[in-house]
Symmetry: none
Subunit: 201 residues, 4 copies
DNA sequence: TATGAATGAGATTTCATTCAT
DNA sequence: CATGAATGAAATCTCATTCAT
């Protein structure tokens, strides 16, 4: 026992480093194997190909992220049926959970969001945008009717991207989770203010 | 006649296509030459290396962009010395010029902003951010004192990135210049509103 | 069995031939691989690059040569402290060892001394000259004071080169070890005689 | 007028520099043309190919050298028929002429003797050796019978090489003509002394 | 005379992947 | 489980040379 897992994990560790440093495309399987102290054959025993190796690192955190988002949005949408009350606390809790998850897997998300070109995750940002879009479209429709204003679809789409970009910016510029959280809260506040300012006309 | 320029331009055209499709790193000089109907040697007659070929496509539009930005910001800073009046017209004109320049060279900027990894432009976004930062820092200091509020430095930094991201988002999601302009104007409005909302407290 | 070593050795054999024929710079890795009946990739499994392939052929014999020289010179210098006696026998033995080593690795030294331009051994002759210089300078100082004459430094430097050139000439003009040995002994005798004739004034 | 010769001479000048720096094989015709401020086509108007360009630089000085040697040796051989008298003055004059010619064309001979691999002059040293051999064989036969000793053919051959090597060493290690002359005179003295010492037994 | 364009073959090196053992 | 060898295609780049104009 042990030796089995150890090799696989050594491989994953050194792959993580290599993918981080070079990005998906330029990462060298040779180097990953060399750093892990095994041969290329070993790698191909555990993983079907480069893509699968990348998946072994990224799939878990990514899918969890999707789950977190979906679960939250389902709650949100359910909440929207009910009379409005102090949602803010919940929202803060959600952001905290989100940031925590992102920073628990800091390297992975850094990779996924900025160095995945060439892999199946090269459109991860767009995929996330689609998920956000779905929810925000529903929400803005509600909010729009609630506030009596009209909401532009393209603007909603852009909103989702702006929020995404804010998180990407956070990850690429702030390594410390606490500072990141403080920062992103301000940013979300900014966006909300701007948003209502736009709608409130 | 024409044969001289034609080859060089065929090369540039096919390079543009290849760089657009594959990004700088994965673009194949072989394929570029094959598509242009010449041998690789021909390419090296006109361009020193891959980087130079990329530069031949990107340098012009990029440098012009920088010039447009700098010239505008110099005006802006000069204006800030004077009593505040309807600057908005100017600002709109500036955004229009900017968007026009970006869409006149649509492919190039698409490349530069999203597919330049490995080239000398791989940090173009950061470089642009630095330029914006400089101006926005000065401006926000003025505005801050004007409105009596305090302005967080990290927020300014993020603001510049948000604006940049907005433009990148525009280019990557909207091919039509008119629609892009309409969109970006709303976005800028949004940001301005959010901005004052944040400061005004 | 054997397949492992065979390829590596086939590669080295065909490399030796190619380097010998064309010299380091003009030797073609393609041809080396083709002659060895493997693909270029195979070469890069065994050797890091062209330089390393050359090193795999030349490093061993060269380092041994250095070792033989240094060991002999240390003895020589030790001997100089003692009263002079029949050193000649030792010297002959040394020359025999040297020639034997050179002709055991005839091809390698032929390469090293005349076809290594572009490789890390392109200054091998000068490096050897430095080693000889060091010893001969000490020795000539002793001999000079012993014989009451003065010894010119540039002449010592030239002496070392003359001896080196003699060995190079031997290797490039005489393939048979026995004949080479007989020849070089005469040459060394000549040089010694000329040397003392110069000093004895 | 003028322009014709100027181009040809610019080409030759820049070729000289390039051949000196890189050696025949690695010298780049492109660079030679670029440095001369002309295109490759121009080069091929004046010179048939790389070899011819090299010849245009080296042929003159080389052939003159051959002429000097042959003329001197003819005189020498004629002199040997006559009773021996103070030949030394003549010999000194010859060495002076030789060294002068070599240093008048310092770059060329430096090239020819150490950087001509790949060109028609790559065996120049051996060719010169053959010329010397011819004469020295005759001379040593005479001298041998004169002194009553026997002279080994291989030793004569080596003698010529030693003398050649001495000149090569001079050119590669001493840039100043006067110092070179002083040095080579000592060396020739050394060789002569060694020679008679060997024969005199 | 000379240009400027283009060729075509060659160079070294890197890579993901495969497979017999 | 894992090794070590090998593939084969592709990468960027360099070069001497040619030729229509």
């Amino acid at each position: 026992m042990g030796a089995d897992k150890e090799t696989r994990e050594k491989l994953i560790d050194s792959a993580r480093r290599e993918f981080m440093e070079k990005g998906y495309n330029k990462a060298s399987l040779r180097k990953i194997c060399a750093d892990a102290g095994v041969t290329t054959g070993a790698l191909y025993f555990f993983f079907e190909d480069k893509e699968a190796l990348f998946g072994a690192i990224a799939d878990g955190p990514y899918n969890e992220l999707i789950a977190i988002l979906k679960s939250h949005f389902e709650e949100d949408e359910a909440l929207m049926e009910q009379p409005y009350d102090a949602e803010e606390g919940d929202h803060d809790a959600f952001v905290e959970e989100l940031v925590h998850h992102l920073y628990q897997n800091y390297d992975v998300f850094h990779m996924l969001l900025t160095k995945a070109q060439g892999s199946k995750y090269e459109n991860a940002v767009d995929d996330l945008a689609d998920i956000l879009d779905e929810t925000y479209t529903k929400m803005s429709a509600k909010m729009g009717s609630h506030y009596g204003g009209k909401v532009n679809k393209a603007m909603v789409h852009w909103l989702t991207h702006m929020i995404l970009d804010a998180f990407i910016h956070m990850i690429t510029h702030e390594k410390d989770e606490k500072k990141a959280l403080a920062h992103i809260k301000k940013v979300m506040n900014f966006i909300t203010k701007g948003w209502t300012a736009v709608i409130d006309k």
